[in-house]
């Protein structure tokens, strides 16, 4: 709750920077694009879309038309509808796994950096051991055996793999803040550890966390795509961007639309995420540099 409050404060702060620095038109275009994607994914059931699973053998592998905006696939399913419904899988996987990764990794990272000592040492060693394990291979191995594959399982596996990465970034970011005098000042004033973590450290770590979160979501969307391409994501016929690209593999020459649209959707989504993350990071960096 308090972190979302901080976030809105940060955004407000960012948009009214005193020296007139702005985030730029492109930034807001990206935000708009992401918002559109999210809205479409949430409202997919309500929107006047064709059923993404309905097969129509009278219109197989059709190109884009007014009736089928993005054309149809080899089973006559509407590609536009499948791209919209497919975004749900990507977005859910991205956000869901980051909720797990940040939910566990971020508090532990902050606590370790603030507490230091034995707690920090043990936790950091454990995390680095997990990090040393090749995450992609582990993910593929676990997902191959843990059947039937559901989106939830994919989210859990990727989320757990993300914990040490988040831990490392947040711990380092907190460490830079926790050694400053204002933290000592807060202790001297009698602030409790919880209060120091929430009031003094969190506002300074949040900008870095937000940028990393966005880039993390982007990475997971790519990862889900890769897993789907290997047939390790949600089982067909459920549409996902990765599944669609995988299905198009054999009929690429016959129906390029089937690969083009989900790939373009994923590409634009990732570009927007990365651009926003990057822009925010430099924006806050400069603020820090002015200290």
């Amino acid at each position: 709750m308090s972190s979302s409050l901080e976030l809105s404060e940060l955004v407000e702060e960012a948009t009214e920077t005193p020296d007139g620095r702005r985030l730029g038109v492109l930034f807001w275009l990206c935000v708009g694009w992401l918002a559109l994607n999210l809205l479409a994914a949430v409202l997919a059931n309500v929107l006047p879309l064709e059923n993404p699973l309905t097969q129509n053998y009278n219109a197989v592998n059709a190109g884009p038309s007014l009736h089928h905006l993005f054309g149809t696939d080899d089973l006559g399913r509407d590609i536009f509808s499948r791209v919209v419904f497919g975004s749900r899988v990507s977005i859910e996987a991205g956000l869901g796994s980051m909720v797990i990764g940040f939910g566990v990794g971020a508090p532990l990272g902050m606590l370790a950096a603030y507490r230091r000592g034995r707690f920090d040492q043990i936790l950091t060693v454990v995390m680095y051991v997990v990090l040393a394990f090749p995450a992609i291979i582990a993910t593929i191995a676990i997902l191959s055996f843990w059947t039937p594959r559901t989106l939830l399982k994919i989210i859990v596996v990727i989320g757990v793999a993300a914990i040490p990465l988040v831990y490392r970034v947040i711990r380092t970011a907190t460490l830079a803040v926790a050694t400053q005098d204002f933290v000592v000042a807060a202790r001297v004033q009698g602030a409790s550890d919880t209060r120091i973590l929430v009031r003094e450290l969190l506002p300074n770590v949040a900008p870095i966390a937000v940028s990393f979160l966005l880039i993390g979501v982007a990475t997971v969307v790519t990862l889900e795509g890769s897993l789907a391409f290997l047939g390790l994501s949600v089982a067909p016929p459920t549409p996902s961007w990765g599944n669609m690209i995988n299905e198009s593999r054999t009929i690429l020459q016959l129906n390029p639309w089937l690969a083009l649209f989900p790939a373009a959707a994923m590409c634009l989504f990732l570009l927007a995420l990365n651009f926003i993350g990057d822009r925010l990071r430099t924006h806050f960096d400069v603020t820090e540099g002015k200290l």
Partner: protein, 340 residues
């Protein structure tokens, strides 16, 4: 001397694991009387800041006791410690890092009040505005600015306002002016003097700038490599230092007049590593008067004049002859004793 606000006994702080143990503060004892200003000086790395932090238990003392207003701080823990500790407040060297860059001036000053729920609403606002006004920050124009938008001097003023919010008895000033311009230094020092009178504060003023310390302190304590060498009234200590180290330290201070002849010789070399401090007197490796006794026996703080105590086997100038000083041989003639 009036009653003591703070008593420090055998304060020891060591860092690091066995084998690589750094002795930062070693058996430091002193008292601070109500309403006085005690200056704590020494080279960088001598443990003066660690002493200040150990008093507040920001750095955990390895042994020794710190008694504030008759209550033992070293025995307290948890909430008791947090509550009792608010009677002491601290101001830091780096004014910028003393304030959270992402918070507003008003909230920073109100933080101690919020912590202890001392005041809310209109009352909180009034207290904060008063404090800011007192330290010379206009609460209407600047109260809602973020900490990162202030200059170093302004940040230090806000730090002082924050420290005063709890109405502390003792203010520990840890190199509070060394990061500031000379003109701003004077302003901050004057502000501290004014506030000291107004709030009835007692100050522990930690600094390496001897001129600053001389001006502000009633008494001065000199530290070398984690130990106290000499403690006494500022005037006598500056006029007639009894410890050879104090003498060299004063000699190293620059004169305002570039034409003036240098009064003292300069101390050569670096302080030894606190990882492996010399036996006996820690200054003996650089002391021109050191004898075998200095290597074997740690000198205790002994009174050489009323209120003036020295940890040296061969103090430089002795007005009252205490026991060990009568046995000394060399230094009286060999050492230059025309200190002033």
């Amino acid at each position: 001397m009036s009653e003591n606000l703070l008593s420090v006994r055998d304060l020891t702080v060591t860092f690091g694991p066995r084998g690589r143990r750094v002795s930062a503060v070693d058996g430091v004892s002193f008292d601070v009387a109500v309403g006085e200003t005690l200056g704590l000086v020494g080279e960088s790395g001598c443990g003066k800041s660690t002493t200040g932090r150990a008093l507040m238990r920001v750095v955990e003392p390895t042994s020794g006791t710190v008694t504030l207003e008759g209550l033992d701080l070293t025995a307290a823990s948890g909430r008791t410690l947090r509550e009792r500790r608010t009677a002491m407040q601290m101001i830091f060297q780096d004014p910028i890092s003393s304030l959270n860059p992402r918070r507003r001036a008003r909230d920073i000053v109100a933080e101690p009040l919020d912590c202890w729920k001392r005041a809310t609403g209109e009352e909180r606002r009034r207290i904060v505005d008063d404090l800011l006004t007192q330290v010379g920050i206009d609460p209407v124009a600047y109260g809602d600015r973020y900490a990162r938008q202030f200059s170093g001097g302004q940040c230090q003023r806000i730090s002082i306002a924050r420290a005063l919010a709890m109405r502390p008895k003792l203010l520990i000033c840890d190199e509070v002016v060394s990061a500031l311009d000379v003109s701003v230094q004077a302003q901050i020092l004057n502000l501290l003097e004014d506030l000291k009178a107004e709030y009835g504060l007692t100050l522990l003023f930690i600094a390496h700038d001897l001129a600053v310390v001389k001006n502000i302190s009633d008494r001065v304590a000199v530290m070398y490599l984690g130990r106290l060498c000499e403690i006494g009234p500022a005037d006598t200590l500056y006029a007639a230092p009894a410890h050879p180290y104090t003498r060299f330290l004063l000699g190293a201070a620059l004169e305002a007049d570039p034409e003036a002849p240098r009064r003292h010789e300069i101390l050569e070399g670096e302080p030894p590593s606190p990882l492996d401090p010399p036996s006996g007197c820690r200054f003996r490796t650089r002391c021109p008067f050191a004898t075998e006794r200095c290597a074997n026996e740690t000198p205790a703080l002994t009174e050489v004049a009323p209120g003036h105590r020295v940890a040296c086997h061969y103090p430089l100038r002795v007005t009252v002859t205490p026991g060990p000083a009568t046995t000394r041989t060399g230094p009286t003639g060999s050492g230059p004793s025309d200190a002033t």
